[in-house]
């Protein structure tokens, strides 16, 4: 037995994790944009959000494309089953992505207050609903509501069900939580301590909420997806769940102590534990009755794809590092000299 299928889904899961940790936080930034309050009061927060995600969101977004492409390359029949049964929430996700990305770019490019408000509201609102539907899709898959075959599942109950509701809410919560954690540090690095305090408070509150949602989610699983529940609470996935819980609690403490850099790591670890717990808990089944072995593409395809990705990674990792390093470094000197166009508001 070769390990190519396992390696492929592991790589896919790494992509998914990266999307949740980076892309998810960009959505969360939009949620905070939504909750920032009136134009005047919310300006500080909005500019911080904008600054933090502006240069990186496109790169973060590519992780989603990576996941989709890896699915149809590595496990094509599963991709077809998921996409065809869950086409309604996935269409809504797609529309949410259009609205969000475009509105964000348009807001940056527009100068008048009403335009910024309109685009800003679109950006913020779609940041809230898109992760919900993505989470609902994950819930439908996790609770075994997507059968093999094309459009074989129920078009509605596959994503309107208890598990999907729980995972959808959890996805929004996780996005908001990660964003708050990251933004706390960004605000601190800029020396804006009031803003850092605001986001610290928010991170603490959402952290507690996300913890509660996860706990509630476990109980929903017990009733709705017993197999996954067993795997998570007493099976192979238990260690990952423990990692997640311990990191979650540690994050709250670190936030309390204002260790903003360290909490980035633990918060990310808490979320990663949940995701990998799900993956490991479900393995080797991808869909009810469909194992990875049966669903995987041919060895030639998996081999060629993995080798290409490995070569690609050699180019990508240093580039990504450069990108993040450039925008995480302090650079006050060269800025502030430029001529600003008149700006309403």
């Amino acid at each position: 037995m070769s390990l190519l299928p396992e390696t492929t889904v592991a790589v896919l899961w790494v992509g998914l994790t990266a999307y949740v940790l980076f892309g998810g936080a960009d959505f969360g930034g939009g949620v905070w944009d939504l909750l920032a309050g009136g134009t005047e009061r919310g300006r500080g927060q909005r500019t911080l959000v904008e600054h933090s995600i502006g240069p990186v969101w496109e790169a973060n977004h590519v992780w989603l494309i990576f996941v989709v492409v890896m699915m149809w390359t590595g496990i094509p029949a599963v991709f077809a089953a998921i996409a065809s049964t869950l086409y309604i929430p996935l269409t809504l996700v797609a529309l949410g992505i259009i609205a969000r990305g475009a509105a964000f770019a348009f807001r940056k490019a527009s100068t008048e207050l009403w335009q910024q408000r309109l685009f800003g509201a679109t950006f913020a609102f779609s940041s809230l609903v898109t992760p919900y539907f993505l989470g609902a899709v994950a819930g439908g898959i996790a609770s075994g509501r997507v059968p093999a075959g094309i459009a074989e599942g129920d078009l509605v109950s596959s994503w309107v069900n208890p598990t999907s509701a729980a995972t959808g809410a959890l996805a929004v919560g996780v996005a908001a939580y990660l964003a708050a954690v990251y933004l706390t540090r960004d605000a601190q690095r800029q020396g804006d301590h009031a803003l850092a305090e605001t986001f610290r408070r928010r991170a603490l509150i959402t952290g507690v909420i996300v913890g509660a949602l996860s706990l509630a989610g476990i109980f929903v699983l017990r009733a709705d997806a017993p197999d996954l529940y067993v795997a998570l609470t007493s099976g192979r996935a238990l260690p990952l769940l423990v990692v997640s819980i311990v990191s979650g609690v540690a994050s709250l403490l670190l936030l309390w102590w204002r260790a903003y850099l360290a909490v980035r790591l633990t918060a990310a670890l808490a979320v990663t534990g949940l995701l990998w717990g799900w993956g490991v808990g479900q393995y080797p089944y991808l869909l009810p009755g469909v194992t990875l072995e049966e669903a995987a593409a041919t060895e030639a395809v998996l081999g060629a794809t993995l080798v290409s990705l490995a070569v690609g990674a050699v180019l990508l990792i240093p580039s990504l590092w450069w990108l993040y390093a450039t925008f995480q470094r302090g650079h006050h000197e060269e800025f502030g000299t430029e001529e600003r166009g008149s700006r309403a508001g």
């Binding site: 977004h61 590519v62 149809w72 590595g74 259009i98 593409a297 690609g312």
Partner: protein, 455 residues
């Protein structure tokens, strides 16, 4: 295969909706994507000249274009994401079976997208934090990655025209050679033709804006350069593109004779076939067309006696829509030739006077050239995609078998169409504002975060 079952499951209206939705999203994305491929190179050219000569006009142009690129890349990325969703949402019958066959180029494309997005972030946002030379270097990966992503994605489309590199057993793909599928016979002409088209669309499109300003009397150096740089790039590529188009046509003639027959409106298999210009196919006859004797035999096979297969070779159920394919092809060729004439006009005047033609007719034509190149592009894709019907994978998988049999696709289509309408209006509006607003800020993406320290 249980294709009969599937074909029966999707209602005709849902199939039509899915096809229209795919055409709309692709037709939209492709225009933006062309700017994604062509614009970075043209912008770098201006930036390089600006750094070399120290001339402000070049520098301003580079900044302006970079700002527009920021917007275009964002809508390019989101419209492309929709496409990758739609491949599964609309065509699970294609992706579930053949996803792995065309997966490799898409995975490679993913790498290219990463490179593009990363360096775009650096190029746009770190403009003033790097020495000019280094800044230009960050632009080069964007150019390479843009061209590469066009290449990769078109190999997947070429495979749909010339499916190779796999074996089927009872509807299941058993053995795949992913590299052979990627480098299928249609890959060389299609990818080259597409990449050149992207530079033409971007170049003529950018030049259009400045031609329009010049018609309005703004003929200072800034506007002249803004016209000259992209126009020269696009006009220089045009003759090459026509040659490559000819190559593509020969390829279709030998490998997809039914498509060629539809492109040319040929129904009967004959020798010494004339070329039809214009005309409408009615009841299996090409009417009202201008006929150039021997034309098609000559063009397709370099031989006036060459035999051309007509549509009669296959049952009518396997005919593509003849009029759409025929007209789309004619429009593309006509525009290609017209753009060539425009380039020659420019060259003629330039060689004599070292100046852009004074004639208002030249400028008017140049304003039209941008939209015209985009129309040629859409027409070319219509030729390729509609001419392949009723097949999604040529000779192997019918479109009706590929589509998602779930009910209600038509509502999805209406929703998506409404969103694209809004997106189009907003994009045009924002780009127009960007073109108008002065002064040009020094950092293209950061104008709206006034008084804010960059972190």
């Amino acid at each position: 295969m249980d294709s009969e079952v599937l074909a029966a499951a999707a209602s005709p209206i849902d199939l039509l909706a899915a096809r229209t939705q795919m055409a709309l999203s692709l037709g939209w994305h492709i225009i933006i994507a062309c700017f994604g491929v062509g614009m970075p190179a043209i912008t770098l050219l201006a930036e390089w000249r600006g750094n070399r000569t120290g001339e402000v006009a070049y520098q301003l142009l580079a900044r302006r274009w970079a700002r527009a690129m920021g917007v275009l890349f964002a809508v390019g990325a989101v419209s492309g994401t929709i496409l990758s969703f739609e491949m599964g949402l609309l065509w699970p019958g294609l992706m579930g079976t053949f996803g792995q066959v065309i997966g490799l180029p898409f995975a490679l494309e993913g790498i290219a997208f990463f490179i593009e997005a990363i360096f775009l972030g650096l190029y746009l946002y770190a403009w003033d934090r790097m020495p000019p030379r280094l800044h230009m270097l960050t632009g080069i990966p964007i150019v390479i990655a843009g061209v590469a992503s066009a290449f990769f994605v078109v190999t997947a489309n070429a495979w749909m025209n010339q499916p190779t590199g796999f074996e089927l057993e009872q509807g299941r793909v058993v053995a795949v050679e992913p590299w052979a599928a990627m480098f299928n016979p249609a890959t060389p002409p299609q990818t080259v033709h597409m990449i050149l088209a992207a530079f033409m669309v971007a170049g003529f499109g950018m030049a259009s804006v400045y031609a329009f300003a010049m018609l309005r009397g703004r003929r200072d150096r800034y506007h002249r350069l803004g016209f000259l740089i992209p126009f020269t790039v696009a006009a220089a590529i045009t003759p090459v593109q026509i040659g490559v188009g000819d190559w593509a046509a020969h390829f279709v003639a030998s490998n997809q004779p039914v498509k060629l027959a539809a492109m040319e409106g040929v129904f009967a298999t004959e020798r010494q076939v004339p070329l039809h210009i214009g005309g409408v196919a009615i009841d299996g006859i090409m009417r009202y067309a201008l006929e150039i004797p021997y034309g098609l035999s000559l063009l397709a096979h370099w031989d006036p006696n060459a035999r051309i297969l007509g549509l009669e070779e296959v049952p009518p159920s396997q005919w593509p829509p003849v009029n759409i394919t025929h007209w789309a092809f004619q429009i593309m060729v006509a525009i290609g030739l017209a753009l060539l004439v425009l380039g020659v006009w420019m060259l003629w005047v330039w060689r004599r006077r070292r100046a852009i033609p004074e004639s208002r007719w030249f400028l008017r034509a140049a304003v039209l050239a941008g939209p015209a190149a985009a129309v040629a592009l859409e027409a070319g894709w219509t030729t390729t995609e509609v001419g392949r019907q009723p097949w999604t994978v040529y000779g192997i998988l019918r479109t009706a078998e590929a589509v998602n049999p779930a009910p209600g696709l038509v509502y999805g289509f209406l929703l998506v169409a409404a969103v694209y309408l809004v997106l189009t209006v907003a994009t045009v509006y924002v780009l127009r504002r960007l073109a108008r607003s002065t002064p040009v800020p020094t950092a293209p993406q950061e104008r709206d975060v006034t008084d804010y320290p960059v972190v």
